[in-house]
């Protein structure tokens, strides 16, 4: 709590932010500057939201911390979401920042069960970036929007000085209508639910990493970037009362499952061998010392399905092109609330923790 006799200077500025007044003894006090890990989708990111942003401007909708906000406006149920795309390199096997900018936000809306309708698109360009490159990204973005059946209705462009951007940053926000009877949010996960993933995991992260400086390796992995609202509709058609949908992007499957477990106060038990990981992804991860559970996905979803509906939902997913590799990977339990536990191939168990921050290759 704030100490009026403190000798530490308080930050000045319009918010009058008092560092001494954190609502919990968060370790952020010893991190006076933002580090890369704060964008990693794990513990550090969550801290930034919970201790800096939410207290400053959060309301009830933000507090739900779902992929998209579920809002009621004039009697209409809307999903509303925003995401920023800062991926480097801009172009990678299977896609580009343009594809991500559309599909990422479309998917956030889809995870609420919404039919995505309109997007906004803000570009932040670094001075000196080639106009041709901007054109290619814009074309990719347009193509992705058409493929997803959404319209980019409004946008903005800014330019920052050379040296202050990775070439191109994009922010998109999207809205869509949530059909009646659909109530998808992390808090609804319940013991007995079956956990289903829509296909191979770890694909996007490895595809991107495979062309990054210093980590180049030739691998036939194409990003799985894709819009998932069609798959979601197919699932809702057979089981309107699905409990939770989440697309495991930053932080991978591990982050998504931990967040859901924490939000609902349930435990999750996974069978490690059931989690589908393509061989090349497994090998690339082994090579770098990474765990596929923490690697980003851009065209996959994880679902918490009431047990009675599991078979029907699985069948519906497998019948859809984007769910052909769907698999049951675990279940929701009452035990160890908030924790995700995996049964290893050899019969042991291990806790699958929330990832810390940036995913780093290791030699050890």
């Amino acid at each position: 709590m704030a100490d009026t006799a403190t000798t530490r200077p308080t930050a000045t500025g319009p918010t009058g932010l008092d560092i001494q007044g954190w609502t919990c003894p968060a370790p952020l006090r010893d991190s006076p500057r933002v580090v890369l890990g704060h964008g990693g989708g794990g513990v550090l990111s969550a801290e930034l939201v919970q201790h800096v942003f939410a207290p400053a401007y959060g309301g009830p909708a933000l507090a739900e911390l779902g992929d998209a906000a579920r809002l009621s406006l004039g009697g209409v149920r809307l999903a509303f979401s925003t995401d920023s795309y800062v991926v480097r390199p801009l172009f990678f096997p299977g896609g580009s920042i343009g594809d991500l900018a559309v599909n990422g936000t479309v998917n956030d809306l889809a995870m609420s069960g919404a039919r995505p309708a309109y997007l906004s698109c803000g570009f932040i360009l670094e001075e000196g970036v080639e106009t041709e490159v901007v054109g290619l990204v814009a074309q990719a973005l347009g193509a992705a929007a058409r493929a997803a059946g959404v319209e980019v209705a409004t946008g903005d462009t800014k330019v920052v000085e050379r040296g202050h951007g990775d070439g191109i940053y994009i922010n998109t926000a999207g809205i869509g209508l949530i059909p009646d009877g659909v109530d998808l949010r992390p808090q609804r996960a319940a013991p007995g639910d079956v956990v289903i993933v829509s296909g191979d995991i770890g694909v996007h992260g490895i595809a991107v990493m495979s062309v990054r400086e210093g980590l180049e390796f030739g691998v036939e992995i194409q990003s799985d970037c894709a819009p998932l609202h069609g798959l979601v509709q197919a699932m809702l058609a057979v089981a309107p009362d699905l409990h939770v949908l989440r697309d495991p992007t930053r932080g991978g499957l591990a982050a998504a499952l931990n967040e859901i477990a924490a939000a609902a106060g349930v435990g999750v038990v996974l069978t490690e061998r059931s989690v589908p990981v393509p061989e090349a992804v497994a090998n690339a991860c082994g090579f770098l010392g990474l765990d596929p559970m923490y690697v980003a996905n851009e065209g996959k979803l994880v679902a918490f399905v009431p047990r009675a509906d599991a078979d029907a939902v699985l069948a519906a997913m497998r019948a859809h092109p984007l769910g052909a590799g769907a698999a049951i990977i675990g279940e929701c339990v009452e035990a160890h609330p908030g924790m995700v536990v995996a049964r290893t191939g050899l019969g042991g168990t291990r806790v699958v923790d929330l990832p810390l921050g940036e995913l780093l290759p290791r030699i050890c």
Partner: protein, 101 residues
């Protein structure tokens, strides 16, 4: 301490007077320096650590190791310790062969 992964040599070339190879780690292809295992041939496997091949992986030895695991229990009763039979005190011997690699 030693995250070293097995990889298969696909292609060998000289670069700046250094013996380098394209090595396949089950779909992941990476450049690897072969200076420490100069007689490694295309098609062979090596243990690779931070971009360097450190030792050839002996396929015959690997197979035999797996066979020994599978026979554990059965061989032990009949013939005594199968591993001790297969290994000398330094830990390196061939079944029925005198050649030391």
């Amino acid at each position: 301490m030693c995250l070293a992964v097995p990889g298969r040599v696909m292609q060998i070339e000289e670069r700046d007077g250094t013996r380098m190879a394209q090595v396949d780690f089950g779909g992941v292809i990476k450049d690897v320096c072969l200076e420490y295992v100069p007689d490694l041939k295309v098609g062979e496997y090596a243990v690779v650590h931070v971009g360097f091949a450190l030792q050839r992986l002996d396929e015959e030895s690997a197979r035999r190791t797996l066979e020994l695991f599978a026979e554990l229990g059965t061989l032990q009763e009949e013939f005594g310790d199968p591993w001790a039979l297969a290994a000398d005190p330094d830990g390196m011997a061939r079944h029925g062969s005198e050649e030391e690699r």
